[in-house]
Each structure stands twice: as C-alpha cells, then as structure tokens.
Amino acid sequence: MKQFTFVLLLLVLLSCKEESKQIEALSENTKISGPVFGTSFSVIYNSEINYKKEFDSLFTVVNKSMSTYIPDSDISKLNRNETVEMDEHFIKVFLASKKIYKATDGAFDPTIGDVVNAWSFGADTNKFLTDSTTINNLMHFVGFDRVVMIDNNVSKQPQTYIEFNAIAKGYGVDVIADFLERNNITNYLVEIGGEIRASGMNMEKETPWKVGLDEPRFDGEQSVLKGISLTNVGMATSGTYRKFKTDDYGNRYAHIINTKTGYPTKTNILSVSVIAEDCMTADAYATAFQAMGIEKVTEFLKSHPELKVFLVFENDNKEFQTLSLNYFPEQ
C-alpha cells in the first residue's frame, strides 16, 4: 500500500511539472514590428511561431491591390484607366466602402482623393495649395455612387480618381488579425499606424490589452491622454492635429476634406476614436466623423449602437474638451 501511495505521489508530481511547463510556454508573446504603408506596424500574439514572413507577404498583396503610392498596383492602374481585374481584397474594401458611403450620406467618399491631392495632403506631393477653379473642376468627378463593379472590373468616369487610403490601414490590420485567427491564435494585438485590433488578452502579463489614446498636440510630440482596455474589437483614430497646414493668415486646415464642397473641414473636432467590430469599419467611420462634426455624429450614433466613439474637440473658450458616445470605455 505504501508503495502505491508513493507511485501515485510521483505521478501527481510528474503531471504537475508537465502542466506548469505548458503554461510557461504559452505565457510568452511573440512581438513583430516593422515599416508598412508609410508608417509602422506592430503585432503581439500568444504563440511561439514567428510569422514575420507571412505578415510581409500579406502586406505586399494588400499594397499590390490598393496602394496609390505604388505605380503598378491595381488601383494605380485603375486610376490610369487601364483594364485590371480586381482581387478579393479590393472587392472587400469596395463593398465595405459603399456601405459606409451610403450610411454617412457621402461623408466618407473614396473618390475625394484627387481633391485631397490638390490640397497636397495625400499621395501626390507635387501639387500644392490650390484655387477654387481647380477644386470646382475636380468636384465634378467626385461621387462614389457613380462607381460600379462590373464583372470584377471597376466602371467609372475616366477622370474619377479612387483611393482607399482612409480605410486601407484599418483593412491591413484586419488582414493580419484574420490570418492569426486562421492559425488558431486568439490572443493578439495588431497595430498599424495607430489603428488597432485586439482579441483575447495579453497572456504574458495576464491582463487585458491596454492601449493609449494620444493627446491632441500641435507641436508634433506625443503624450497619452488616457489608456483603455480593448478586447475583440477594432479601433481607429482620425486626428487633424497630426496632419494640417497653416495658411498665411494662420488658419489651420485639416487633411479631412468635406466631400460635398471639396474644401478642408473647419471642424472643431481635433480627434475621433472609433471602436467597431473590425478595424476597417472603425477606420472609415473615424474619417467620416471628423468631417461630419459633433452634432451630426451624435445624431448618427443614436441609430448605430455598434459604434463607440470618443471625441476630442476645441470648445468656444479654445480649450480641449472630450465627449464619449455609445459607452466608449472610460479606461
């Protein structure tokens, strides 16, 4: 009998050891970062496998499809009116863009790109601040409702310029997150240039994923306004304070263009953070909300409980003020 107890004890000890080893292995995260889409990315996930190569090839595919900065990408060819069959990434982003274009009554519009370029905020840096005739002419070819996909080709007016730069970063985040999920990784944080998707928790620290929201600053420095916990959502931030131009009179022009007028918005919103089901949706709405202004956004969100929003704006006394809508997390 004594011998039996001993064996049992040994077994228990052995199995304990085995178990703790397993937990140890799982508690380590892999961190991968690098440059992408003219900014940087960082992926933290709970697995030992290094997916750097896979991430890089996924980014290459997305760039090849949608980057206006790459001359032989599908979208660049499309904008030069060359025949090109669109891939699944383009189609996904196209369909999502249509939905958000429609929902925001055109405040989000992928055909505004040429006007953005005319104001020299976008991809083509050769052009500079512009005159009203140029803007009026360009506005004739703005309107995503007139762009239709026919047999995987895009049908548009030759002068219409399409770009998904206000949604592609968020989509890139989703592509990486979906890849991790296909590989059965459920605890991860994917970030590209401030756009985020978080799932599960940080297993290494055994805490929820914590992300910081930037304080709006015009001096180019970074500081955190508040930190929040995220899980199983995408979050994107659109901030005018990071990218703006000042004219001779000291007026600040945001890089968000009003899609109805073609002029930069003179909104008092400094930054919009949106939490949505995925990062692509969050990214597109963050841009649209910046252009819509506080009142319209507040009204819009009453019928869109799936979106959580945090606004930082300049009030009448030129002070920062914040507004949380639809239960955006306090911390």
Binding site: F94, L95, K99, K102, D145, V148, M149, I150, D151, N152
Partner: protein, 125 residues
C-alpha cells in the same frame, strides 16, 4: 437568317429586365456579374445602406420561372447572411411567340413572364 440566342445571351436579356426593375425601385447598383453561373447577378444597396444580393434566373417557357433550386439557395443564403445581405430572387421566363419548341431569335419578338422580385428569407431554413 434568324440567329438563336445562346444561354449567355438569354441570361443577359433577363438581367436587363431585372436591372431596369431594380433601378425603378430605387436600388443602387454596387456590383454586377453578367457571366452565366457567376452569382449574385446584382449587388445592390438601398437608402438605408442595406445590401441586397439579387439572383436572376432565365428559363425557357413553358418552364416555370418562379422556382429556384432550394438546395443551392441554402448555401447562397448562408453566404448572404455572413455578408449581412438580404437575398432577392428574380425568375424570368422567355419564349418564342410562334411556338414552344422554337428558340428565341436575335432582334425578333419574344414572350416574357416576369413576376417581380421574390424576397428569400435568410433567417428561415
């Protein structure tokens, strides 16, 4: 010399009719697939930014245009559900007025039976 329409051409003829109906009802086109067997034929969006996948099926009369393959439709319904889209079915019957066993000829009169858009419930199996 009369030239009979191919299956692809019959399909496109049916799509033209359904497309006009969709347009009149205020749907906006997002994507169109005109090739035979490439589904859905129309991806439309309404003013509430609701997506609709429209299946167009051309049949030669007297075959009943209102019926669809329910087994196939189950898989398509799942696809639409995943994409948060509603499904509409549009059956179009086409025929030669001079006789059931004659084909439909290019640039000649034809019979059409079209009973509008059927809503296919995605939440029922």
């Amino acid at each position: 010399m009369s030239k009979a329409l191919t299956n692809q051409e019959l399909h496109n003829l049916a799509m033209n009719h359904v497309g006009k109906d969709l347009e009149q009802r205020g749907f906006e086109f997002v994507a169109i697939n005109s090739k035979l067997k490439k589904h859905p034929q129309f991806v439309c969006i309404d003013k509430n930014s609701q997506y609709f996948f429209v299946i167009v099926k051309a049949v030669v009369l007297p075959e009943n245009p209102n019926n669809y393959d329910v087994v196939w439709m189950e898989t398509f319904k799942k696809h639409a559900f995943d994409k948060d889209a509603k499904v509409l079915f549009a059956g179009v019957g086409l025929g030669n007025p001079k006789g059931e066993d004659l084909p439909i000829y290019l640039n000649e009169d034809y019979l059409i039976e079209y009973n509008g858009l059927q809503v296919v419930e995605t939440n029922l199996n």
